[in-house]
Amino acid sequence: MKFPESRASRARAFAVGLLLLLAVALVAFSVGGVRLSIADLLSGRGEAGEMARMLASIRAPRILLAALVGGCLALAGAALQALLKNPLADPFLLGTSGGAAAGAACAALAGASPLVSPAAAFLGAAAASVGVASLAMRGGRLDLQRLLLAGLIANAFFSALLLAAFSIASGEAARTMLFWMMGSLADATPGKDAALAPYALVGAVILVAMAARLNLFSVGEENAAALGVDIERTKRIVFLAASLLTGAAVAFAGVIGFVGLLVPHAVRAIAGNDQRTLLPLSGLAGASLLVAADAASRAALAPVELPIGAITAALGAPLFAWLLLRTP
């Protein structure tokens, strides 16, 4: 196990993460149902060049959306794991994603403009976080088993809500519900990317700013309090920022599970549990994972698309089982 020692080594780790993301994005850019030749794109002449440009205009926003969504979910998962001192915390398993989807779906059903859907998703996510956390409280502390059960309850509740909304919705609205339930990056546009980016940035900046405080949570809430951290305020800020990230991701890509669980564990195993490294690196690794998963979903059964959630779940569910077996 390696522990980054200093600011310099953290910067190095961050640079490695960034390079990984760029490499993955580059590969993802050229694979898919149709091969995209970078040479054609650069030369840009003739029919081949035109085709390459068109493909690029479809693929690039989609890769960016995958990166933003993956980063949001992984960062939210990493922060929740640190805050709750719980390796099983994940916006999907804790019902935050479900709450966000239900929020967005309700707004859509009420006829709100798509521009409001991140806000509605955020409200849904925040409500889910608060609800799950208070259900899981026992004697003033979060109980691990209760937390997972509360997440289960929240997920059941929100999926029932979504199904109900689905069955009363018609035509396009029903399509939209389905999109939120299944998760999809298929209709990425530069506009969506531009709308999601500020949410992702704000949430990421807040969480990374809380990293040093979250480090003190690793020995327990009481420990952090005794070291001068206002734990209630910190918990509120982290929960809200994680909800913001989850809500934004779900509003633009629907519910995609397990990214928030999978990524922080992989990063922790490689880079240690210093949140100042773990959080930004999780963001980058989450972005890389989802970009890769999306490329797989485009390429595996082309021209048919595999749902992205199926790929992340296939990777995440076994890990979850393994973690559950290891947790005393």
């Binding site: 001192k85 020995v219 327990g220 420990n223 005794a226 070291l227 001068g228």
Partner: protein
Amino acid sequence: MNDPGFLIEARGLTADYGRTPALAGLDAAISAGEVVAILGENGSGKSTFLKVLARVLAASGGTLLFDGRPLDSVPRRQTARRIAYVPQSVDLVFPIRSLDVVLQGRAPHGRGFVAETPTDRRQALDAMRACDVEGLADRDASAISGGERRRVFLARALAQEAEVWLLDEPTAGLDPRHRLEFLETLWRVHGERKTTILLVTHEIGLAADFASMVLLLKGGKTIAQGPCGQVLTAENLSRAFGTPFQARGRRFEVRSGVLPGGSLEP
């Protein structure tokens, strides 16, 4: 400044865990440099008092003055620089290097709870040396023995440069050798830095040998406080623990009608 004579002064302090009351009007007056043993039966409020002092738990009523000012009127970070808390046990879920645990003691001093200047590092390593755990610096704190971990957390308190240490049952679960080593470290540090120490313990003998003052609690209230000689009497202990004690020199024993020896030294 209310009463500059005392560093810590509690009057009618109350606190609770949800609906369960834990402190029911505790009084205490502790001067700087004292070693205070807090004694009392299980549930008498000993650990709760430490938690309120550490600001892990907020008092629900009464007065608690630290250095003459109400504790909750001082910013948390400021008190965290002066008061160190060593919990009874910690539950480590994720791996964390021992040095990083000790560096946490520097967090209240750093900007944004960041402790990574060369000074922080040196102080953390010095503290580890003082507590004889320097060799464990790179080891995962969740994978070392209980006694070692106790000393790592003591080193953290040391690195924190706090003038008050709150120790919750620091010797519980330690074998005789580790217990002795731990107490020797504690005593040495106290001698060097004149740290005020509040320690919760069930060892009456330890209190008698080690403490300069005893705080005897029952049902969340103080039933006696003062120098060991005055407070540690068979009568007080019998009242505090609800079982008859008898004095035997400077030691106290609990009488038993069942056990072959007939008495036990706690």
